[in-house]
């Protein structure tokens, strides 16, 4: 699978998690009438470097240690917070994906953003870079535990079988031109691979490759076979049929090249991307064909061994 098509787990999590999932909900706030001197006590005792300014539940500003230091330098300790706070506050909504927060930290270079409820403007929390890191680590830990269970199940089946080498093989008969059932084999395969406890990413890649191969058999042939064999280290998908064959494999691999009739295109297939999709999902792909005889496709997906 091409490297640039993969996203890191962290990147995935930053759009899965919401700002509200990782923010600190108990927010220390200060009223706008409090003096800079009193603010000092709050910042000191709570060990924080800034705090939102809230008037009757509404967010009216934000003040940081930096603002506080400037006041100190000028000897302005008796004036109210509202006179020195930043009034135009950059905020985040609790329901925004975390990736928005990451981007905002980069963009503004601030240490914290107040989090407000969409629509109501109510302050519901505060988020720092530390919150983001903690939130991501926690989520990673949860996911890790889930993976542990998968691993246990997966190894179990193979461990229960006593042999030097174990291969589980699944056969699917694919009927040509049957568009009511086209997709059934790949669907069944996907469920089976999940039950075996194989990693979701590998299952997905195998299922996509099998589905495209299945569609090719349905669209272009009178029928064929899908054979999938699973070993602990790899999934091998074989699709074979007995005609009509591909005259020019190199051409067939070109993105967008298609010989599918309009009727097929109307179904959403035949855009000339199928073989390429298989190639992108597989770690290894081999295609042989003889015109009038048939086509044999083999796609291998390696599994992470632990």
């Amino acid at each position: 699978m091409a490297e640039d098509k993969k996203y890191t787990k962290i990147q995935e999590l930053t759009y899965e998690l919401k700002v509200g999932n990782v923010m600190t909900k108990k927010v220390v706030t200060v009223s706008p009438k409090k003096t800079i001197y009193k603010l000092r006590n709050i910042l000191h005792t709570k060990r924080i470097s800034g705090t939102p300014v809230v008037d009757k539940g509404k967010l009216v500003g934000i003040i940081s240690t930096e603002d506080f230091m400037k006041c100190l330098a000028k000897g302005e300790t008796n004036i109210p917070v509202e006179e020195r706070m930043t009034k135009k506050v950059e905020t985040l909504y609790a329901d925004e994906p975390l990736v928005h927060a990451v981007r905002k930290f980069d963009q503004y270079g601030f240490g914290r953003f107040p989090v407000i409820e969409r629509g109501k403007g109510k302050l519901v929390g505060i988020i720092t870079k530390g919150d983001i890191i903690k939130g991501l680590l926690k989520k990673l830990e949860i996911d890790y535990h889930k993976e542990e269970i998968h691993r246990y199940r997966a190894s179990h089946i193979f461990e229960d079988i006593v042999a030097d080498r174990t291969t589980l093989t699944f056969h699917y008969n694919v009927v040509g031109e049957d568009f009511n059932r086209a997709g059934e084999s790949a669907s069944g395969l996907k469920r089976t691979l999940f039950r075996l406890g194989i990693q979701p990413d590998s299952v997905r890649r195998a299922a996509i490759a099998a589905y495209e191969a299945e569609m090719n058999i349905v669209v272009f042939t009178e029928g064929g076979k899908l054979t999938v064999s699973v070993e602990t280290h790899r999934i091998k998908i074989e699709a074979s049929d007995s005609g009509p064959g591909i005259p020019d494999i190199e051409q067939a691999m070109q993105p967008g090249f298609s010989t599918a009739p309009e009727r097929i295109r109307e179904l959403g297939f035949g855009a000339g991307m199928g073989l390429l999709n298989i190639k992108n999902c597989a770690d290894k792909m081999n295609l042989t064909s003889k015109v009038g005889k048939g086509t044999h496709l083999e796609a291998i997906i390696y599994l992470n061994q632990r």
Binding site: Y7, Q11, T14, Y15, E16, E96, P97, V99, R103, F179, N180, R181, A182, G183, E184, A186, S187, K190, P200, R204, A207, I208, Y211, E212, M215, L267, G268, F269, A271, M273, G274, L276, N277, N280
Partner: protein, 123 residues
């Protein structure tokens, strides 16, 4: 974005899955080509499509699509609805065309697959 929000924004009708309207969709994708969905859709996405054949359901299952919304008032037949039901796949239908459906959802904060590419480019 929840399915219920999608329903409101697109003035959509729920075909199946009225009990799943609280479900979150993280990302949106729109296509009338199955291979495009297979190649580019991210797990957990909402699919907008004008196709209503059984392969839409299979493609969605294979690509880990969480919910489908049919555009331009197209409704799948009973056979397809039954298939989606067996796979626990919620389906909505909007009278809006594809372009407007995408525009409304995007404007309301549903991110697309391109968003991830931008993020990746910016490191």
């Amino acid at each position: 974005m929840t399915l219920n929000e999608v329903k409101e924004i697109l003035e959509a009708e729920v075909i199946i899955g009225s009990d799943k309207l609280k479900m979150e969709v993280k990302i949106g994708c729109a296509a009338d080509s199955m291979s495009d969905i297979l190649a580019f859709a991210k797990p957990g996405a909402l699919l907008l499509t004008g196709l209503t054949n059984p392969q839409v359901v299979y493609t969605s299952e294979i690509s880990d699509i969480k919910a489908i919304c049919f555009v331009r008032g197209k409704k799948p037949d009973e056979k397809v609805i039954k298939l989606a039901k067996s796979k626990n796949l919620p389906m909505l239908m909007t009278h809006l065309p594809m372009f407007e459906s995408c525009g409304r959802l995007y404007a309301n904060g549903l991110i697309g697959i391109g968003y991830l590419d931008i993020e990746k480019k910016n490191g």
